[in-house]
Amino acid sequence: MRREYASIAAMAALLVGSQAVAIALSPLFQGSGYQAFPNPSDVTNTVVYVILILVFTAVILGLVRYRRQNLAKYVIMASIFITLAFVLLLPLYYGLYYSSRSASRPSSSTSS
């Protein structure tokens, strides 16, 4: 039981941590036009996204049922890879940008 409390605390930290990181990253992503939908206040976004989830789930379940587990695995690994590329690229880019800027011109920069 004690061990389970530690696991639960770890899980809670991951839940809160992922949301905190997401909130911290969101202005960066928004500034770079990373929105998945052009008009965020449009309710049809929700419909489109839910349908996408259902279709993706159906495809993966179908692949599993017809013994194409490897194909399902590659589809998911490719999706995760593309997502990670997107997610990691921007902070890396900004990090390099600011570090190179502050290294080359400490205080006289007035560019906007």
Partner: protein
């Protein structure tokens, strides 16, 4: 990637979840986000308790060691490489050596908090040194955390549970309460 351990899976899963949460959060205004949380809460309950296809999916994907759920070991020395079939363990009534939470359970309530932070731009009251939008975002995160602790009461009984009804329910309650506190009315921007 042939035999990833649980901490590899968790690191990739955590970064993916945070990034996807940010991207989707800035893509859903308050009303579309609320509708999304409600719709997916019902879908999750249906897929876990009624058709059980979410359990099939989780079982299949953990057996492939894919980072679509986070693995939290209950004891030191646990190895994800030796994790047996979840369905088999559930059927045998065996105690599992680790807990599992889907990335969606982190991402979907998080969409609400990022959306609140991004789109609630109207002037309102500041709380605890937080701007109103940050206050509502924090309230949404806290709400999902409260939902999470209720969820754990069920999870400890050993059966697979749909996460989203409680996580989203908590997030939405937190959003509503802090929104009313900060704006004096329900600000859906």
């Amino acid at each position: 990637m042939k035999f990833p351990e649980w901490y590899v899976v968790d690191t990739i899963g955590f970064v993916t979840a945070a990034g996807v949460t940010a991207i989707l959060g800035i893509s859903f205004g308050a009303i579309p986000a609320i509708l999304l949380l409600v719709a997916l809460a019902f879908y999750d309950a249906w897929a876990v308790y009624r058709t059980k296809h979410m359990i099939t999916l989780a079982d299949e994907l953990t057996s492939q060691r894919l980072p679509i759920l986070l693995v939290i070991p209950k004891k030191a020395g646990y190895s994800f490489r030796e994790q047996k079939s979840l369905k088999g363990q559930i059927a045998a009534g065996e105690e599992r050596e680790a807990m599992f939470i889907g990335l969606g359970d982190l991402i979907i309530p998080g969409i609400m908090s990022v959306s609140a932070f991004t789109f609630l731009t109207a002037p309102g009251r500041s709380f605890l040194g937080l701007e109103p939008n940050a206050f509502v975002a924090a309230g949404t995160v806290l709400g999902s955390l409260v939902g999470f602790f209720f969820l754990m009461r069920f999870v400890l009984k050993g059966n697979p549970q749909a996460g989203l009804p409680l996580l989203n329910g908590g997030a939405l309650l937190g959003f509503l309460l802090t929104n009313l506190l900060a704006y004096g009315y329900l600000n859906l921007a």
